[in-house]
Symmetry: C2
Subunit: 252 residues, 2 copies
């Protein structure tokens, strides 16, 4: 029987989703919790790997198990064995043929920044400080340039092995909030898939554009000319959160 | 010459504001940073002590020093020597006769909770999970009962030594936000001063009232009868943040 979990985690203390030798990972912690609960080996597949330090407010994963525990009880049972920074929010029996990777239609990531002359410790865990002024109108203008099907080669870390660097971005939305004299910005990117470091480089490029450091021509060159020298800085991992995975059905 | 600092800190890893033997404190870290920068002993006085694990988005403190460093440069100079979870936001030369404790007119604390059947790791650092349903209208109704000058004896941890337990609460405001299916609540309490654990016990009492666990009569008994058995649970420290200190002047 296949089951699906909705999962949230604070990525600060993890080397990303995927099990690896030299770092503690979310997949490792979750696998241990499931195996201790169920009593046998379990393979867990997430909608996609999140990188070291990246957070998830709603990651989706699946696993196969043969158990009499009702699926809606999984969340409580697993959370009991998980560390405080990983939590199973919901658990269900997966629909026929469901696969957390292959069935995923769209994913939304959010990159969060705030503008302040000094560090704000209460913001720093989930967003990144920008010291230079940001023109929000230009940020929204730049957002539009990325929507659609494009070759995001220039936005993919070199050395990553993928068949194609063409991806479709359905929307790039900019949400702002002002608290006191601090401007907080969330850049929400929804696409059919993302390359390694793609959202962090998109965010860096948008911020550079909005600060006048990158031109409209640079952006065109980065997409049409696949020119890595035309893009902005790849932003730090802690500002990035996987917000949702859309399967085209009400899964949970 | 007297100087004033506006300070923010994430209290998670500190035994509160005040220097003590058995824990690392914010005052200790800040004192070290100032002394290393200035080259001599400095006494720092904050508007009030925050307890172990309590955060501050805008704490105010003062110190006396004899230096040629322009006051507006202090923030950068001190932050260079402070850990990431403490930050000086602004620094100024204090007005004549200013004292961070004695000149304070009002302080505002915020207690944050969220309602969710499971833990939300991305909320847990600065707010506390409530498992039972909360009636927001009843929460606002309860807020009104605390406004005004009252004897908050029942809301003060036993054993604390104060001349009087009478305090004036200027306002208790409830702000809500719904993200997905998660209700987040901020209880903002503004008063002329607070007793030990007072805001955390006020918050617990309001939440119990809104869940029907405490009656209007219990609240009356807690204030007029100074009855500690009539109040709700003292809520955990991590949900509490010192939001602002008002000196009746534009200090920064």
């Amino acid at each position: 029987m296949r089951y699906a979990l909705l999962l949230s985690y604070d990525g600060t203390n993890y080397g990303g989703w995927q099990i690896q030798k030299n770092a503690v990972t979310v997949q490792e912690k979750l696998t241990s919790a499931l195996e201790e609960t169920l009593g046998y080996k379990v393979n867990i597949t997430a909608s996609g790997r999140t990188d070291s330090g990246v957070h998830a407010s709603a990651q989706v994963c699946h696993f196969d198990a043969d158990t009499t525990i009702p699926p809606e009880k999984f969340a409580d049972a697993f959370n009991f064995r998980l560390p405080d920074d990983i939590s199973v929010l919901k658990s269900v029996r997966a629909p026929e043929g469901f696969d957390a990777v292959k069935s995923a239609k769209r994913k939304t990531y959010c990159y969060r920044v705030y503008i302040s002359p000094q560090r704000l410790p209460l913001k720093d865990r989930y967003s990144v400080r920008i010291k230079f002024p940001i023109d929000v109108e230009k940020l929204c203008e730049c957002a539009k340039m990325f929507e659609g099907e494009h070759d995001f080669f220039a936005y993919c870390a070199s050395g990553s092995q993928v068949k194609t660097t063409v991806r479709t971005i359905y929307s790039v939305e900019v949400k702002t909030q002002i608290t006191g004299d601090v401007l907080e910005i969330g850049i929400y990117v929804t696409g059919n898939g993302f390359l390694y470091n793609m959202v962090r480089t998109l965010a860096g490029t948008m911020l550079y554009y909005s600060a006048g450091r990158i031109s409209r021509e640079d952006i065109a060159r980065s997409i049409e000319g696949r020119d890595r020298s035309a893009v902005g800085k790849t932003m730090p991992a802690n500002g990035l959160t996987l917000e949702s995975v859309d399967y085209g059905i009400e899964l949970f």
